[in-house]
């Protein structure tokens, strides 16, 4: 009964390729996020969606395009992958966009660009 799941968990690809990471939450939450954790373990928000609507876009290159087909899913598509995109990408969700509720994180997807 995974609350927030991501596929794949590991992704190895060549520079220049296009790839997608999928995220699903079965918690009934309205708000979902993508975070990037770099090689030094620093975590930074990339995007946030609330009920399929984009509410945060943190100066991420436009090669990254999130898509939310419904409020339980938030996918991340990356075009023309670069070496610097290698990182762990975390999806997270919380009940709604306000309040202080904790964010529930997925297991992360380790992306390696060769």
């Amino acid at each position: 009964d995974t609350a927030v799941s991501q596929t794949p968990k590991y992704l190895v690809t060549q520079m220049g390729n296009d790839k997608s990471i999928k995220c699903e939450q079965n918690l009934g939450h309205d708000t979902m996020y993508w975070y990037k954790q770099d090689s030094k373990k620093f975590l930074k928000i990339m995007f946030s969606y609330n009920n399929k609507e984009l509410i945060i876009n943190e100066t991420v290159p436009n090669r990254f395009s999130p898509k939310s087909p419904d409020k339980a899913h938030l996918n991340l598509h990356i075009n023309s992958l670069e070496l610097g995109d290698s990182a762990v990408y975390f999806c997270a969700s919380r009940p709604w966009a306000g309040g202080s509720d904790e964010q529930f994180f997925g297991p992360g997807t380790r992306l390696t660009v060769l």
Partner: protein, 115 residues
């Protein structure tokens, strides 16, 4: 913009002893929320403890407690009776509010527990 600083990249503690991890933050808000997350080698992000800024009482969760000093903008985590399973990266985080809530993380502290 809010920032979170963890000044200890690495800490170590003997099993069964107590360790304190430091965190300071910068904000002009008066009402906000702070969190400590744990990331073991499995990579999973796990919430350890949460503190509401309007509450003067320090939060506690079993062996984990915080020392929240609002005026000093300090939010340290104390782990008592350390266990081998406490070994992990620990991240302090500030919840930015205002319609587009997001977590701003510190750079983390790697905690080693020695048997």
């Amino acid at each position: 913009a809010q920032t979170v600083t963890q000044s200890q990249p690495e800490m170590s503690v003997q099993e069964a002893e107590t360790v304190t991890l430091s965190c300071t933050y910068d904000t002009s808000e008066s009402d906000y929320y702070l969190f400590w997350y744990k990331q073991p080698p499995s990579r999973q992000m796990i919430l350890v403890i949460r503190q509401e800024a309007y509450k003067q009482q320090n939060a506690t969760e079993n062996r984990f407690s915080v020392n929240f000093q609002k005026a000093a903008k300090s939010f340290s985590l104390k782990i008592s009776d350390s266990q081998l399973g406490d070994a992990a990266m620990y991240f302090c985080a500030y919840l930015v509010q205002g319609g587009s809530e997001k977590l701003v993380f510190g750079k983390g502290t790697k905690l080693t527990v020695n048997p």
